[in-house]
Amino acid sequence: MTSVLEIRNLHVSVADKPILKGVNLLVKQGEVHALMGPNGTGKSTLAYTLMGHPLYVVTGGQVIFKGVDLLELAPDERSRLGLFLAFQYPVAIPGVSVANFLRTALNARRRAANPADKGIPIPEFRKLLKAKMDMLQVSHDFAGRYLNDGFSGGEKKRAEILQMATLDPEIAVLDETDSGLDIDALRIVAEGVNKLAGPNMGALVITHYQRILNYIKPNVVHIMLGGQIVESGEADLALHLEERGYDWVREKYQEKAEA
């Protein structure tokens, strides 16, 4: 059965300030959606809210994922249900290697499914991680490095994609994964996403710029403004934005832009 993430009239506040003002969106496994919009319109707020960050307070609406009320779940439960967030600013966890961390995350999944599970055998895990690193053209020494600690911007984003590849989500939200990357890093990261997106994974690619969409071809493009999705269309909507910027959107939805 195809997994569906459905966002219904979602309202979210941060520190009592309303940011999302009624977001509606439906992402299915196997689809790639791009969510675009000027800075400060609530794109990252949507990403954090979907993952359950404690600072983002839902004041109205619903999010249903695989028939489950997502908002009732803790972040770890959301992850184990098949949701993934690639962070715009992943934090460094000193002293914890990429490999150890991923093994802990995989084992948490196995143990949630079966409390008696002994954890993934180390040889099997090594093989799995090696395959994922090869697929994403990540050098093997990545596995032994402390998670995001001293990573360059590009390495951090690649580490996010490696985590995504290893955890095998059904719906992935990529929060400005393209920001801060040079064109080569962008291409490598985008290729990684393309390898993973397919019948088994749906993606919501949040971006400010159109350029990542030269590499990742979305089925649908949404434009967010003032905490709502104001336009949805096919891939050429992104090209339209590239040519004309966001001004025409602001003009068209002046009220919302000023809200």
């Binding site: 359950g52 803790a74 967030l85 962070f87 934090v91 000193p94 914890v96 961390f101």
Partner: protein, 467 residues
């Protein structure tokens, strides 16, 4: 002056807390109740040779000349001795020790590699088990209990006892020397390399325990030695341990010393420990403090010869009402000496830790290189860590750096780990494990690491007012 002082973010400086409670008089009598006759009886019970009995009596005199430390003594500002009922402590060696349970087998497993050159377990002052490689004995290595050594190796013990820690250094040094009821003596002769590690366990099962560890490496000798100080878990009656640890590391000798403290949460633990290292000597000293109710530990390295190297790595994890106070000093008394200290600790519940460190560079100790860092992870609102680094540099061509930090678990870290499917308690444990990783890297002995990781797991899993 090429003194390079690099402080880490969020330094913690000494704070002065003045409350009326600090000035309150302790309940009298603020002293042990033992008489000169008791000390004589102790000497007899321990079968002291005459010279040791004299040392004991001299230390007992010293003990009485030093008042019990108060909060207005600089080194004792943060550790309050008043709640302990000193006059109720007994001399265990004078009492029958029938019905003592054996040392738990968990403490008798080798912690470094699979094989050991020797193991010595002392339970409540009495040797419970011993094993020592005959080939090492033939090479002149001595590894035995202190009482036996004082008789069979009188000349050696006499020569080195008190070389590193003197009875007049403080109340508890005098206490430990005068009231000693058990101890360990390890001697490695010149140029002897002990390939297999040695292991000793002081199981402090008696109501009070006074111990001494004396380790001597002659020129060019080398050994890895794991020493454990532990006592029954779950005991509740307040109990006293005072101890001395002396490490004498000769010219170009190399000592790896791992010291694990797992005393019960009822124990008040006081130690004076010092290593003296000769020219070209190498000392790799690992401390772990898991247990005790109160610990006040003075640990110093004296780098007395050109090119000496000393590393101190400390691990502590306090919970409940534990109070762990470590006072460290790195003394660069000679040129080209290097010291490197890293103490890392976590605290939960309403526990408290104190680390006060000093790097001292003597006049003329040029090209000395000293480093000290103390990092604390405070896991609850009511726990508190005090971290007080210090430098005293009297030479002008040295490099000394230090840093001290007290941090909390960051919610952003926990959220990030949880977003990958890891439940909150496990996410917290991942961050704590990561915090301790730099210490584990320095320890490099799998068995010791496993023991410390187990203690982290146990302490993290314990229910209580963790948050």
């Amino acid at each position: 002056m090429m003194t390079d002082v690099v402080a880490a973010p969020r330094p913690v400086y000494p704070r002065t807390i003045i409350t009326t409670k600090r000035k309150a008089e302790p309940a009298a009598p603020f002293e042990l109740k033992f008489t000169d006759a008791d000390v004589k009886s102790l000497s007899a019970a321990c079968k002291d040779p005459a010279w040791l009995a004299r040392r004991r009596r001299a230390a007992w005199k010293l003990y009485h000349s030093i008042p019990m430390p108060r909060l207005n003594d600089e080194a004792w500002r943060r550790t309050d001795l008043r709640p302990f009922k000193w006059h109720e402590a007994e001399l265990s060696a004078l009492n029958a020790s029938a019905g003592r349970r054996p040392v738990p087998t968990a403490f008798l497993k080798p912690l470094v590699g699979k094989e050991q050159g020797g193991q010595l377990a002392i339970n409540g002052g009495k040797v419970e088990s011993r094993h020592f490689d005959a080939a090492l004995r033939r090479k002149g290595v001595v590894f035995t209990d202190f009482a036996a050594a004082a008789v069979k190796h009188e000349a050696l013990v006499k020569k080195y006892m008190g070389k590193a820690v003197k009875a007049d250094e403080g109340k508890f040094a005098a206490m430990a020397e005068s009231l000693m009821d058990s101890g360990i003596f390890l001697y490695v002769p010149k140029n002897v390399e002990v390939a297999l590690p040695l292991h000793s366990v002081l199981w402090a099962s008696a109501q009070s325990q006074f111990t001494r560890v004396l380790v001597v490496l002659e020129e060019g000798a080398s050994v890895t030695y794991v020493h454990e100080l532990a006592s029954p878990e779950g005991a509740t009656a307040p109990t006293l341990h005072a101890g001395i640890v002396e490490l004498v590391v000769g010219k170009n000798a190399s000592l790896k010393f791992v010291e694990l403290q797992s005393l019960g949460l009822n124990v008040w633990n006081f130690t004076h420990e010092r290593a003296i290292a000769g020219a070209g000597a190498k000392l790799d000293w690992v401390f772990s403090a898991i247990g005790s109710h109160v610990t006040k530990n003075f640990s110093e390295i004296d780098l007395n010869g050109d090119g000496g190297w000393g590393r101190m790595s400390g691990f502590y994890f306090a919970e409940g009402d534990q109070h762990l106070d470590h006072d460290t000093q790195q003394n660069h008394n000679a040129p080209h000496t290097t010291s490197d200290l890293l103490f890392k600790g976590a605290l939960r519940d309403q526990s408290r830790s104190v680390w006060q460190g000093m790097i001292y560079v003597a006049p003329g100790a040029q090209k000395a290189d000293g480093y000290q860092a103390n990092r604390n992870l405070v896991l609850s609102k009511s726990a508190r860590a005090d971290s007080i680094p210090g430098l005293e540099i009297l030479a002008d061509d040295v490099r000394c750096t230090h840093g001290a930090t007290v941090g909390q678990l960051e919610e952003e870290h926990i959220f990030y780990l949880m977003s990958r499917g890891v439940p909150r308690p496990e996410a917290q444990k991942v961050v704590v494990d990561g915090f301790f990783d730099p210490i584990m890297q320095r320890i490099a002995f799998d068995g010791v690491i496993a023991r410390l990781k187990k203690s982290i797991e146990t302490k993290m899993a314990r229910s209580g007012s963790g948050e």
